[in-house]
Symmetry: C2
Subunit: 306 residues, 2 copies
């Protein structure tokens, strides 16, 4: 059986000012066909169309903070969802002032949406659960930026145990029994015989995880939140040539991002949010690799399987 | 001598929901190196970069109304101008609520711009002068849409008379004399002889004009405002197959746009603001031509010399 999807699509990799090649921040995560949009910079809806996503399937939008390059695509995206017939509720997880902005925009345009937005206001005090179902949980965690800002941690729920089909054939088991076995229980079969879980099941793959750190100064406090994730997205606005500026603007360099990845023992590091001053991005990889080898660049249209 | 520029660049031609090929409304007009941005839909700043415009030269932005597809690119564009070092004042001509929106966005992002925005609030009662210098004047005029909306009329000032260089050599004239002649006056030359204007000058080309009608129901009241312009941009959201919907949503069809062009005796008609439901745009031309022959489609990147 194919494993459930856990895939990230890069929609925008630029910092505040977009370039001809790079759009403002946005990433689309598909976890078991739940579609999570991480930030929504200007023109995100155009990017979603360009990469042929089914954007009405997005039911959860996470906004890290209220600098324009992380949310100015949201009003237009919400309007297009409305115009193209959306009826189902949309969840938006964001700083509370974003609701005021959207309300004001609907007010000046005299627009009444055909669907409800369910607002979930983020806090940046600690790890906070934002969303949970049987497949996945999403938490926010505090980040240090110029204004209120949170990161997001997306984790699969532990998968059900796998049934060893060869062993299974030896026992008379109902569907209900099999479901119990997958949850880790022992069962009594049709012949009244005890079937031990460990004899007929095998360990599932460990749950996967993704952390999204949009805009942050170098901050080792992040390590405890993103510890051991399969994929860490950590902003890298600058190279070391602008380390001072990075500190002043509460951003990070490629070296700093890779140091966090190393400290947190993540499996892979994705860097992005590149300043418009850099045309060629290879120097970002070169600067990161001495600290953390498994590093990739956020490039518009790139898909990463986690 | 080359005539001063009067050129339009199409940045976006879609109605509310953008498509993979069409962006929301925006057009850049260059009149004698004054750069006027007409509306600023989402991703306008990206389009301005794509078509290699010098966007810091834009000192005047005109917003017709506050439906998102006509202004949601403005906040990001203002922020990028700031980030990329703008210092000079920017004039924005728009419904007054737009200032509240921009103020709120700067407030939530804790941004203070390095340049001033000079706001000019539009009225939709009659023809109102918005901007004037020695080369050009811009007026707004009322349009009928679902919400407060204005069109814009851009007119060259009458050009100075042309000096007939062959005749000029026969007279002893100072630079001051020549300037007077260009303004239509007679002069007395160095020998005390009267030089009649009509003997040494010829008529200049007539001043050119452009009218921008972003979103409007079919409205013959427009004719008096756009009468005789060299280029009329008139929205054409729908074809006749959706004439009923056009009326209900206060939009126009291609046939209706061409009827206005005919009634107003304009020289050329430009249609745009196409609904996402139409892939092929040739039917728009076919529908317009029986009423008005000189019609062209707004296509992203198209330049029109007026």
């Amino acid at each position: 059986m194919q494993r459930q999807s856990f895939e990230l699509l890069i929609l925008g990799s630029s910092s505040a000012a977009p370039t001809t090649k790079r759009n403002p921040s946005a990433q689309l995560l598909n976890v078991a066909e739940r579609f999570f949009l991480m930030d929504c910079g200007e023109a995100t809806q155009i990017q979603l169309r360009k990469y042929k996503t089914k954007f009405q399937k997005i039911d959860h939008i996470f906004i890290s903070h209220l600098h324009g390059d992380h949310f100015l695509g949201l009003p237009g995206f919400l309007a297009s969802m409305h115009l193209l017939g959306r009826k189902q509720e949309l969840n938006v997880y964001a700083p509370k002032e974003l609701k005021d902005v959207i309300d004001m925009l609907n007010n000046v345009s005299e627009t009444r949406m055909n669907y409800q937005i369910k607002w979930h206001f983020t806090k940046n005090d600690k790890l906070n659960l934002l969303f949970e179902d049987e497949k996945v949980a999403v938490h926010s965690f505090p980040m240090k930026h110029r204004i209120f800002c949170t990161g997001f941690l997306v984790k699969e729920k532990p998968l059900l145990r796998k049934i060893d089909k060869y062993e299974l054939e030896k026992h008379k088991l109902s569907v209900a029994d099999i479901n119990k076995l997958r949850k880790g229980e022992d069962v009594i079969n049709a012949d009244g015989k005890k079937v031990k879980n460990k004899d007929v099941t095998i360990d599932p793959e460990p749950p996967r995880s993704f952390a999204y750190c949009s805009d942050t100064i170098y901050d080792e406090e992040l390590v405890k939140y993103v510890n051991g994730v399969d994929l860490l997205y950590h902003e890298s606005t600058f190279l070391n040539d602008n380390a001072k500026r990075a500190g002043e603007t509460f951003h990070s360099t490629a070296e700093q991002a890779s140091k966090i990845a190393k400290l947190a023992k993540v499996k892979q590091l994705l860097i992005g949010h590149f300043s418009a001053r850099y045309g060629d991005l290879e120097p970002f990889i070169k600067e990161a690799v001495p600290y953390f080898k498994n590093v990739v660049l956020a490039i518009e249209g790139k898909k990463l399987k986690i």
